[in-house]
């Protein structure tokens, strides 16, 4: 990560293309992430958005929080709609029906709309090499419908469809590695980001938008409502996710891995988990299992990046 001076926030564009007045929960990390991404994307974009938290909070008829062109259709087809927009724009410009202009197609979806129901459309769009940026806003569950588990829910986390109980530890599977799946499609740019590191996030979104071809940025979006933490801790919890190695920040540029931020020693995962009610029920054994796995995965990532 580049060094930055303390006063750089004031150099960021003041324009809010994701306008205040949206109905996101108090302290929503995803709304913050969307807001920051919009600052990096500028005006010349068209957004295709999946059904989910951000879509619902930003578009209750007849209101919209969007100051850029935006379309929502269904839950699982964001990448397909984005493909159609990209193709349509290309032909309209080629045939002279609209003026030549650099318009970036940006797909926005949650973890459900990306790694579960939306995986097929995303894989197809990446394979076909459409020129678009796909942003996955990962709050680690189907939050908008009431905190049900997704394949992005971390191991051991309690959700309404993977509740902790007498015979259950919560989520029974490990978080699906979506950035690796994106990288396996050999697209030019894949990155992970977190709004707790706002300049890193904005730089990566801008970099993804500048790529010619598919780009994928996976953005951890802390959710106080679903993760059961106080509303003022969204940014802190996101930072801890990175510092404990549970959500490492890295890029994959043309297949080459690069860590954005490395730590001499990772903080213990309990530092991250103890702030969140969704992990409250975990036993020492499970926590230790998680700790080992996180360390193993982080070591593997470092090796890929060396």
């Amino acid at each position: 990560m580049e060094n930055y001076a303390v006063y750089v926030p004031r150099l960021v564009t003041r324009r809010e293309n994701f306008a205040p007045g949206h109905r996101a929960c108090i302290g929503c990390g995803e709304a913050l992430a969307v807001r920051l991404a919009c600052k990096a994307l500028g005006q010349n974009i068209i957004i295709a958005n999946a059904t989910g938290c951000m879509e619902i909070v930003s578009s209750p008829l007849p209101y919209t929080s969007w100051r850029v062109p935006w379309i929502h259709t269904l839950f699982e087809n964001t990448a397909a709609v984005a493909s159609g927009i990209e193709a349509g724009l290309k032909m309209m410009m080629k045939k002279g029906r609209i003026a030549q202009k650099d318009i970036k197609v940006v797909a926005m979806a949650g973890d459900g709309g990306t790694s579960d129901i939306g995986l097929q459309a995303l894989s197809g769009a990446m394979e076909r090499g459409h020129d678009f940026l796909y942003l996955c806003f990962d709050n680690e569950a189907y939050m908008n419908t009431g905190i049900q588990r997704s394949s992005a829910t971390p191991y051991g986390a309690a959700t309404t469809t993977s509740p902790a109980g007498k015979v259950s530890i919560g989520q029974f599977s490990w978080k699906k590695d979506m950035p690796a799946i994106a990288a396996a499609h050999n697209i030019p740019y894949v990155a992970t980001a977190c709004p707790s590191y706002p300049f890193d996030l904005m730089a990566k979104v801008a970099k993804g938008a500048a790529v010619k071809g598919p780009a994928y940025v996976h953005i951890l979006s802390p959710c106080p409502t679903g993760w059961r933490c106080p509303t003022d801790l969204s940014v802190r919890v996101g930072r801890l996710a990175v510092e404990t190695g549970m959500f490492p920040l890295y890029e994959v540029e043309n297949g080459k891995y690069k860590l954005s931020l490395d730590f001499p020693k990772l903080r213990p995962v309990t530092d991250y988990m103890k702030l969140q009610g969704r992990f409250r029920h975990l036993s020492e054994d499970i926590i230790s299992e998680i700790q080992q796995r996180v360390e193993k995965e982080y070591a593997r990532l470092k090796e890929k990046a060396s």
Partner: protein, 391 residues
């Protein structure tokens, strides 16, 4: 001067899309539509059709890509059949409710299970309520003409609704028929360029697909229904203009010796032409029968249907799809509903036949008509009968 060629109808559809200068084709192959999309791919690959061909990974994505393409104002085409039409089912509702113009050719195919690639109308009947304008054609020339009209109707600023053109899978899609293509100059005159009034573009940002709370959803649906019904006027206008330019006339309900007939058969789709042969034979024997065919399916041509059948005593409706546990033939149930309020109406008898591509010969149609007359006189303990099932 326009010349007449022998061409497989699927390929002819590709040629019309080329004449219409479509911008984007997003499609997924499925029997019996494959020849349509293969030919389009060839036309694009050779530079004959200047379009983006998106080989999507499923029909759901095909229709979704069409949504995106239409939303930026590009002329959009796709094609599908049977299972494919069902896979894109939820997206169809979105296309019409969001008023995104596009044209889709559907090579009507039976629905699984059991798997059948052969033609019947179950796929079309399953999408009755999706809000699309829907037309049925009976041969190659009609297919070519109506795909062209479909672009014009769909993109008309007073309509801006997606249009489906239903053709028989295999029986129309795969046969070589004599077709007269319009000249490019005639098409350019008939089909104006597509200009969507509120496209997605940074110069004028719009939000498409906002969600509706209960307090406003009904208003959104009413607006949609009003515009679908009003589209009928534009469709009639388009066919009239087409008739003047090209000499071939189309109407919402096509009639064949029906004005003086006591007994009418109603069919939809390709096997109507076989039914005509049966009608001719029976009329030759002095029987007062006639044939009525629906061409415009949505918006439903209530007035034209009522007019066409008002003097008949018996109306036999042959469906090529079955609605299980209910009225049997979907078209028959809609016809009955359309006639229910009329003071003077024929007795309607429903048959379901030709499922899964089973052929019905002229003798078969004769049998159906005679059976229909018998049932209308004596009644039946069944709501409908499936014709030709081996007991």
């Amino acid at each position: 001067m326009a010349k007449r060629v022998g061409i497989e109808v699927s390929l002819a559809i590709g040629e019309v899309v080329k004449l219409a200068n479509a911008d984007v084709v997003a499609a997924y192959p499925i029997t019996p539509q494959t020849h349509i999309v293969e030919h389009l791919a060839e036309l694009v690959a050779n530079g004959e059709l200047d379009a983006q061909y998106i080989p999507v990974e499923s029909e759901h994505s095909a229709m979704s890509a069409c949504l995106g393409s239409s939303a930026v104002g590009a002329r959009t085409f796709t094609a599908t059949a049977g299972q494919g039409l069902e896979l894109m089912h939820e997206v169809l509702y979105v296309a019409s409710a969001m008023r995104l113009p596009m044209v889709m050719a559907v090579a009507n195919r039976a629905l699984s299970a059991p798997l059948s690639v052969w033609g019947d109308q179950s796929d079309a009947m399953a999408v009755r309520d999706t809000g699309w304008i829907q037309l049925f054609v009976e041969n190659g020339q009609e297919t070519v003409d109506n795909v062209l009209c479909a672009f014009r109707i769909s993109e008309d600023p007073r309509v801006l609704l997606p249009v489906m053109v239903h053709l028989d899978g295999f029986y129309i899609s795969h046969v070589i028929e004599p077709v007269v293509f319009p000249e490019q100059s005639q098409v350019d005159q008939f089909l104006p360029p597509f200009k969507y009034p509120v496209p997605l573009h940074p110069d004028k940002p719009v939000t498409m697909g906002a969600f509706a709370m209960p307090v406003i959803y009904s208003e959104a649906k009413k607006a949609q229904e009003v515009h679908l019904e009003a589209a009928k006027g534009v469709i009639l206008e388009c066919w009239k203009e087409f008739g003047k330019l090209f000499g071939r006339n189309y109407s919402p309900v096509e009639r064949y010796h029906s004005d003086d007939a006591r007994v009418l058969l109603l069919t939809v789709g390709g096997f109507s032409e076989t039914a005509m042969t049966a009608v001719d034979k029976m009329r030759g024997e002095g029987k007062g029968v006639g044939l009525v065919r629906l061409r415009l399916w949505r918006p439903f041509p209530f007035a034209e249907l009522r007019q066409a059948v008002k003097n008949a005593e018996t109306l036999v409706v042959l469906d090529r799809a079955i609605s299980f546990g209910g009225p049997g033939g979907p078209i028959c149930s809609e016809v009955k509903a359309a006639l229910y309020g009329e003071d003077k109406r024929p007795r309607v008898v429903g048959f379901v036949g030709g499922l899964g591509g089973r052929d019905i010969t002229p003798a078969g149609f004769e049998e159906i008509i005679n059976k229909g007359i018998e049932i209308s006189q004596k009644g039946s303990d069944q709501e409908f009968e499936i014709y030709g099932v081996r007991e």
